[in-house]
């Protein structure tokens, strides 16, 4: 049994609850299992709304017109038990808890225009990385223990919202038994299935979950669906830094023709202990290949005058929609806060093949990004833009890189836009 480093927040919170009787204000379900749902409409956009206030509970709300008025949970919405992760698999939306809230379930249309809850499960450690099979029948979700190198890969059936299998796999580890604090673990930044290959880009993290050795991109590759306990191979590329960012599920995206593109950030404010010396940029793994395309590298830092990618989502054709950190404040995890300097992101459209970056017009500098992939339909992407004082829905026209400001969000943000019908 190898134990590496640290009591995580979870343990600490519980420890404090016991030793100090102080943290029972922590938002959890308590004695509540998420109730079945009665009568929340599944029509239009289904959204994960993050509220304000001490409680900061997430609500699943739905609205057909999100381009005007307000989006709020007042008198509407499915009340979840806590702060949540959201990930869609086809027309099914999975929502799972964080910290002490160790439960999750799936939500889908009941055939009569309402959302119904399906299944329900618990887990030991928060599920923090998500992906889906290409046939959109199965959610892939991973427990990432910050103290133990084993990564628990869950397979969940979108039909019934239940776990069908859990595999203990390893991605990467360098365990220092003499001084466990010096051990290095892996932090996955996407779970991407393409054909019979399963790609997991990852960071090397120290036992404080800070990304270290920031000058190399890494992807572990496994067979699929028979995922082995260890990767078949790990491919590396030293033209850019580690792929992805903590909490983003789109470290690798697949285009319509089967090419995979990765994004590398390397900013201290995105969780790197030291900034990468390599530029932020995009790598490619060609369709049917399992190596980085040595002929392809898009240097984003060069193209954006020093900006670093903070997210990348596929937007159809050769296009992607991305968030760029226009500066690196140098404070570790700074991009995950709402401190004034965190409002430095711009929204851009990237042509992956033409290697161009176009700023989306009329979108203010903003902060944050959540786990769910960005919803793109009919050439329009829907994003929540969090500024220092408010949040609004923006509809982005991918082709023209223009935007329309939509409904005001009554809350901190919308963590994801989904369609269940």
């Amino acid at each position: 049994m190898k134990q590496i480093k640290i009591t995580t927040l979870l343990a600490i919170v519980i420890l404090l609850a016991i030793t100090a009787c102080s943290s029972d204000d922590e938002t959890t379900g308590g004695g509540v299992v998420e109730p079945d749902v009665t009568g929340q409409s599944s029509k239009g956009f289904v959204m994960a709304l993050r509220t304000t206030g001490d409680n900061e509970t997430d609500y699943i709300v739905s609205k057909e017109d999100i381009m005007s008025g307000e989006i709020s949970a007042e008198g509407t919405g499915i009340e979840l038990t806590s702060w949540r992760f959201f990930y869609p698999v086809g027309k099914t939306l999975f929502s799972t808890g964080y910290s002490e809230d160790n439960q999750g379930a799936a939500y889908a249309d009941n055939g009569q225009g309402s959302i119904e809850k399906k299944g329900g499960f618990i887990f030991d450690n928060a599920l923090e990385m998500f992906g889906a099979t290409n046939d959109k029948t199965t959610l892939l979700a991973m427990e990432i223990n910050r103290e133990d190198p084993t990564r628990r890969l869950h397979f969940m059936d979108a039909q019934n919202g239940l776990v069908t299998e859990i595999k203990n796999i390893s991605i990467y580890q360098e365990i220092d038994n003499q001084d466990p604090v010096n051990s290095i673990l892996s932090w996955p930044t996407a779970l991407e299935v393409r054909g019979d290959n399963f790609f997991i880009p990852f960071h090397k993290v120290n036992t404080n979950t800070e990304s270290v050795e920031p000058d190399e991109a890494l992807v572990a590759i496994y067979p699929f669906p028979a995922v082995g306990s260890a990767p078949e191979k790990i491919i590396t590329d030293n033209r850019t830094g580690p792929i992805g960012v903590n909490g983003a599920t789109t470290g690798l995206i697949e285009t319509a023709n089967g090419d995979l593109y990765s994004f590398s950030c390397g900013a201290v404010m995105a969780g790197f202990k030291e900034a990468s010396t390599k530029p932020s940029g995009i790598l490619k793994i060609k369709s049917n290949e399992t190596e980085f395309d040595s002929d392809y590298f898009f240097n984003i830092e060069e193209a954006t005058n020093g900006g670093k990618l903070f997210s990348l989502d596929y937007a159809g054709g050769t296009k992607a929609i991305a968030r760029i950190l226009t500066s690196d404040t140098g404070e570790i995890w700074g991009a995950f806060t709402r401190k004034p300097e965190a409002f430095n992101q711009k929204l851009v459209i990237i042509d992956l093949e033409a290697k161009t970056v176009t700023d989306v017009a009329n979108v203010p500098l903003h902060a944050k990004r959540y786990t769910s992939p960005i919803l793109v339909e009919a050439g329009k992407a829907y994003v929540s833009i969090e500024t220092a004082t408010d949040a609004h829905v923006y509809q982005v026209d991918i082709e023209t890189a223009t935007s329309t400001k939509g409904a005001k969000i009554i809350g901190k943000t919308i963590k994801g836009f989904f369609r269940l019908q």
Binding site: G30, V33, G75, E79, E100, D148, I166
Partner: protein, 776 residues
């Protein structure tokens, strides 16, 4: 000087004066045998209805009567009545000197008939509730269960006997309320000495100060203080009890004192509590152990929730000596072990082996002496508190009681992300000095100094990378308080002002980086209380305090790991206001006590653990809350046989954050969720067979409240804690003048589903029997 008043009121006297013509004054003075004036003695003119006065500070009085012959009856608690017949005529004014003789017999029972110490506290300006344990000593319950019926108090418990609890006083809760035992702060005394461990018959009374706390209780109490008083009288007695009840619950208590003619005494207080707490949980979710899928709800008895606690406290001292009114040394040793069926706020994580143990040793001494007009109280305490968290299990349990062994590669604990046997050792030092100086009967000054020091060190026997408190952290608090009190018997008021200075310093070394961090700050609190007694049976009160709670060490310094230190953290602050009144009246066979209090708490900078985004979190001053409400209690007794009381609380605890991290807060001005806002309780019963048998029924009501923000979410699917009705019965029989007592209690009589916050179930119907032996 003790002032006991059984006066007629001034207004009526005024009336009497007006309604009569040709009034003549009877003037006089009332003295004791040593020729000391007696303040507050009652002089009644026999035959003249409603004519009577009380003596003033000089022991003097004036009565106006028409010409004639009268009989004056003069009385004072502890003295024999004196009767004097005089004739009043126009010719010469009457000046009387009345000397009262001490009544030894009556002195012995003075507390029964006079205004008791507690009654005097109740008629000060503090919003105080004093519960005397006397009437409750036979009930098989603990202090928490007694104080939770006080209006304005809401007690949230996580389960059965020994479970963690959080007491809220007018909306301020947890460590915002400070606890004392005989005036000594109980901070960091460990989990075996919390109030839920103490059977009621170990104590004399409990004082609950709401929002405004006198300087003698030296602590940073943001929302009030609770002071437990143990028996102070130096008598010989034995009070022993044993109770047995549902869920294999056993409680024993021993409270005994012996004092000799040399004014030495020894006192023992001890308890032992045990329970399986295996009460039925209804409709708990069952998940399969391998995959974690939901299988359905089941009804099941809790299977891992044993609680054991024990304490032995021995006190040796002297009293009524030349050099000390009282001086004692007290040694306290306590232990508890608590099994956790689940974390306090989550039933989805079922535990089968996680437990905690606590060990507390305290040595304290208290010295009290009154020298002329100066009263001094000095106290000192050293302590060692050990807590062990045992998270060493390799198993994973579910509600069916089934378990699987974890994969050997899986280092998870039941609760933590790594198995752990964590030991936390606290060393405590507390000292207190208090001086009261009575300048004149009207003016008095009080000064109080409290020093509180904590050194906390942690060690993990199993997890080598648990650095929590591996390097010790220390914090010290110095609290100075002064108060000035002005009393006027004549004008019937009692007013006092106080100021408190808080000085704090904390220090922690980061085990990883070896970095030493220190933090200091100081704040000044202040306040005042006012009591008016326009009628002898009516007190009108108002009180205010600007109060603080200094951050705890873990809030300020983090843990060196996932909770970052936050040196920007400032103390929690609150403006606390109470306005209320108390009516205490009795007719020949009927007595009524009615009290009402309107409270307002404007609290800012509540310290909360900020939700992590990314990896780290920190404690921050993030919440502003206003509580306002009304609480009221009434207690009536008929012939001292039939009794009824009723306590009711309505409170609005409102989120006052306009902005949440810069964004307009949608919950602004709405009720803070997950806290009951309307609740009441009643207790009524009667005594039979010369008070040998008593039967009481009690009932409590809690209005439904929401788990999450009230206005959010589809009302059909919202999580709430439903309306709760809880009934109970207490039957008590005693014989041989109360020497033997046998009682039975049924709690949750209707076996209703009862919850606390977070919707976690509490025990259903339970029966407890208690036998108590009391010899004085």
């Amino acid at each position: 000087m003790i002032i006991l008043r059984k006066e007629w009121n001034a207004c009526m006297l005024f009336f009497a004066v007006l309604s009569c013509s040709a009034q003549h004054n009877i003037q006089g003075i009332v003295l004791d045998q040593k020729s000391t004036p007696i303040v507050g003695a009652t002089i009644v003119v026999k035959g003249l209805k409603k004519l009577g006065v009380t003596t003033d500070f000089e022991g003097q009085f004036v009565i106006s009567v028409p010409e004639g012959s009268y009989t004056l009856e003069t009385s004072y608690i502890g003295f024999k009545k004196s009767t004097k017949t005089i004739t009043v005529s126009t010719a010469d004014p009457v000046f009387l000197t009345i000397v009262l003789q001490e009544d030894i017999e009556e002195l012995n029972s003075v507390t029964v008939r006079g205004k008791t110490e507690n009654e005097k506290k109740r008629s000060t300006g503090y919003a105080i509730n004093v519960i005397e344990a006397k009437e409750l000593k036979n009930i098989p319950t603990d202090i928490n269960q007694v104080i939770k019926s006080i209006p304005g108090i809401n007690l949230r418990e996580a389960g059965g006997l020994g479970s963690n609890f959080k007491l809220a006083l007018n909306g301020l809760a947890g460590n915002q309320v400070r606890y004392f035992i005989d005036g000594i702060p109980m901070e960091n005394f460990g989990s075996s000495l919390t109030l839920n461990n103490f059977p009621v018959n170990l104590i004399k009374s409990v004082e609950v100060y709401k929002g405004v706390v006198p300087v003698s209780l030296g602590s940073d109490a943001l929302g009030g203080a609770i002071n437990i008083i143990t028996e102070g009288k130096k008598e010989n007695y034995v009070d022993a009890s044993y109770s047995i009840g549902s869920f294999n619950t056993h409680r024993t208590a021993l409270n005994a004192q012996y004092s000799n003619a040399h004014k030495n005494y020894v006192k023992l207080i001890s308890f032992f509590n045990y329970s399986d707490n295996d009460y039925l949980m209804r409709d708990v979710p069952l998940f399969d152990l391998e995959l974690g899928n939901f299988l359905g709800n089941i009804d099941v008895n809790r299977f891992y929730d044993q609680y054991t606690s024990t304490m032995l406290s021995a006190e040796f001292g002297v009293f009524d000596k030349k050099y000390a009114d009282q001086w004692y040394v007290r040694l306290t040793s306590a232990y508890n072990k608590n099994e956790y069926q689940h974390p306090d706020n989550n039933i989805l994580r079922v535990l089968g082996e996680f437990n905690t143990e606590g060990n507390t040793i305290l040595l304290s001494t208290v010295y009290e002496k009154e020298i002329d007009k100066l009263g001094i109280k000095l106290s000192g305490l050293v302590g060692n508190v050990k807590e062990i968290n045992d998270d060493t299990s390799t198993r994973k349990y579910n509600w069916a009681g089934d378990f699987i062994e974890r994969d050997p590669s899986d280092g998870l604990g039941e609760l933590g992300v790594a198995r752990s046997l964590f030991r936390l050792t606290d060393q405590l030092i507390n000292s207190q000095a208090n001086a009261k100086y009575t300048i004149t009967d009207a003016h008095s000054l009080e000064g109080n100094y409290t020093f509180n020091y904590l050194r906390r060190k942690g060690k993990d026997d199993i997890n080598p990378v648990n650095f929590s408190f591996r390097e010790p952290s220390t914090l010290s608090k110095n609290i100075f308080g002064v108060s000035y009190t002005l009393k006027s018997i004549r004008y019937k008021y009692d007013i006092s002002f106080f100021a408190k200075q808080y000085l704090f310093s904390g220090k922690q070394k980061n085990a990883n980086t070896e970095e030493v961090t220190t933090v200091d700050f100081s704040d000044t609190g202040y306040g005042g209380v006012l009591a008016l007694n326009p009628l002898s049976y009516l007190t009108i009160k108002a009180s205010y305090e600007k109060s603080y709670r200094i951050p705890e060490s873990y809030e300020l310094l983090g843990d060196g790991l996932f909770i970052l230190p936050n040196f920007e953290l400032t103390p929690e602050e609150s403006d606390n206001i109470n306005i209320g009144g108390r009516l205490n009246t009795s007719f020949s066979f009927f007595s009524l006590v009615y009290s009402a209090n309107v409270f307002y708490r404007k609290s800012i900078d509540f310290i909360r653990l900020k939700r992590p985004e990314g990896v780290f979190s920190e404690y921050d001053n993030i919440t502003n809350v206003t509580s306002k409400g009304i609480e009221s209690g009434v207690k009536a007794s008929f012939n001292n046989k039939i009794e009824a009381q009723f306590n009711i609380t309505y409170q609005d605890i409102i989120d006052k954050d306009r902005l949440d991290e810069g964004v307009e807060n949608a919950a602004f001005d709405s009720r803070v969720p997950n806290i009951p806002y309307f609740f009441w309780n009643t207790r009524m019963g009667s005594k039979f067979f010369k008070n040998r048998l008593s039967i009481y029924w009690n009932y409590s009501f809690t209005e439904s409240f929401f788990l999450k923000t009230e206005n959010n979410g589809n009302p059909l699917d919202k999580n709430d804690i439903p309306v709760q009705h809880v009934h109970g019965i207490d039957i008590d029989y005693n014989w041989k003048q109360g020497r033997y007592n046998l009682s039975a209690s049924v709690t949750n009589l209707t076996d209703a589903l009862v919850f606390d916050n977070f919707r976690i179930q509490k025990p259903g119907r339970a029966l407890y029997l208690k036998f108590r032996y009391f010899l004085q």
